[in-house]
């Protein structure tokens, strides 16, 4: 059985060191204001008593808790972990701590989480938010906000601009002789999905290809697997998926039907988070999920430091990474 030690307060340290509470406080926050000997004495006393500054009390009087919140729709989606890692590392450099929230793709939960975090963080990063523009704007009046993959004017945001990469994907397929392709789409509330769909539409029409759009309920492996029949029904010889997870599902669905990739069918993912994990290795549109996390945090920290919100829109470019799931269209193979 382990017994808990109750908190040592600044007063106890002050008594032990024979100084005022304010001096103890200063020893920790502005030691330059005190004589070295005093600091030394206070520190020694603090050490022996096992004093640790109370974060909550400090936050109350300074208004700064040194925390920032990061809210994502689905931790399980491989797009997010690298983003989260990078965010954490970046925050760390400035001694900020990340509080992570997971909304399970549920706007209600997201709203609740934002409210809950609002009181304990200095700022918030919303990644791929599924909230309405109005709700996001409302939250932005409460505390500094940075958005990832969501384009709302007036709110600082960092976006992965898939247009270029998706366009390359379409061109790649066109060059390989594919005439009919399909796009297995993502969540309708997703900015990325709208953007990718638009890019693929434009590309297909520019190259004179026939394009079918297959909807899915959510960007998951299962959804991809279940979309395969619909995809095959379109007569397409190649497919672009909203993300790698969906693409992976499609890969399995095809294998289950004994359709060999890439010989019989070509497939391209987006986000390039699983490229090296699938077999065959997935051709995919790169993203910079780690960069995005890092940049969003650094943007938020800048805002916190300067205390004013510029209307920044930071867009990252993408490109196609060709691996082993694309090859010439079967008909001309």
């Amino acid at each position: 059985m382990i017994k808990r030690t109750k908190g040592v307060t600044i007063s106890q340290v002050a008594d032990a060191a024979g100084v005022a509470r304010s001096s103890v406080s200063r020893a920790f926050t502005r030691p330059d204001m005190l004589s070295p000997e005093t600091v030394e004495r206070i520190m020694r006393a603090a050490e022996t008593l096992g004093y640790v500054p109370n974060h909550t009390a400090r936050a109350l009087s300074t208004g700064r808790h040194g925390n920032i919140g990061l809210i994502v729709p689905d931790i399980a989606n491989p797009f997010f972990p690298p983003l989260i890692q990078a965010a954490q590392t970046e925050a760390d450099r400035s001694d900020f701590c990340i509080f992570l929230g997971n909304t399970a793709e549920n706007p209600k939960q997201e709203d609740k989480l934002v409210g809950r975090f609002a009181g304990q963080v200095e700022g918030l990063v919303l990644a791929s938010s599924r909230l309405s523009d109005e709700r996001i704007r409302a939250h932005a009046t409460q505390l500094p906000l940075v958005l990832i993959n969501r384009d709302i004017e007036g709110i600082p945001r960092v976006l992965i601009d898939s247009s270029a990469g998706v366009r390359q994907a379409v061109d790649h397929l066109a060059d390989l002789g594919h005439r009919k392709i399909a796009y297995v789409s993502g969540p309708s509330a997703s900015w990325s999905n709208k953007q990718r769909r638009a890019a693929i539409r434009a590309g297909a029409s520019a190259r004179g290809m026939e394009l079918s759009i297959i909807p899915t309920p959510a960007p998951t492996y299962q959804a991809g697997r279940e979309a395969v029949d619909a995809v095959l029904g379109t007569g397409a010889s190649a497919v672009v998926a909203f993300d790698d997870l969906t693409a992976q599902g499609i890969l399995t669905g095809l294998a289950e039907r004994h359709i060999v990739v890439p010989r019989d069918f070509s497939i391209i993912g987006c986000d390039d988070v699983l490229g090296a994990v699938t077999f065959p290795a997935l051709t995919s549109v790169s993203n910079h999920s780690a960069d995005v996390g890092r940049i969003a945090i650094s943007m938020l920290l800048d805002i916190l430091r300067s205390r004013n919100v510029a209307d920044v829109r930071y867009a990252l470019d993408t490109k196609l990474v060709v691996r082993d799931t694309t090859t010439q269209a079967p008909s001309i193979g």
Copy 2:
């Protein structure tokens, strides 16, 4: 440009409603102490002013912040997301909020994170901690702690007991005629790894099989892929991997060498988190990662409510889930 509204305090509401600050406080926390009309009036005032209780201030005076921390070694490992989800859901039921920390398998980072969280959460769940027993014990004196997959006496813990499942896996392979098998192991600091290794050793020796142990630096896809040569070098016809991620890597490594699973080689994972995602679908030892998350949180909440720490050791059973990556040994096929 969005402008921020600054906080409305309890005093402002009190003035507006013509009552004392304490009454406002009670209107929110113990409305039964006040007359319904007063509560009504206060609420109306609070509403129009847009008052929101300050979480930090409340936490300071009550000592309760309604947060609990959850620290995991690697969010990217598919074992954790379901656990995290379940933990979040369970915490939610009691109106607690989860702060998630990721240590990137780094004990230093874990130590730092614990210290950082300690001040802002009422209790902490450490999942698959890579810290030493001593460090964990030290932290346990600071705040209520619950461990997942770490067996330290005196600290409440919930464990996935893989012994039974791993034993079934070994028996399964033995029944299929495999005589030489390999175990691709996990992190040396991992309790789960020690436990699985012991179970497989016992099983192999009981069934008179030859067993080789292949070490890996971390439980990742890449590590699995790179372990393949070593595995093949042992002459084994089947392998059990520390976890599904590693198994997935091995699966790819084998495919790259044109070894067909399960015809030429059988493979079993652990944790059963990727079973349905790989192709062929992976035979794996089940776990209850969601249950574990839920139970750990509920245990912690009990401790917080009762204010005393019982020495609970909660072990969950496992079993083998047979899918498509295991079949009879080639020699007797």
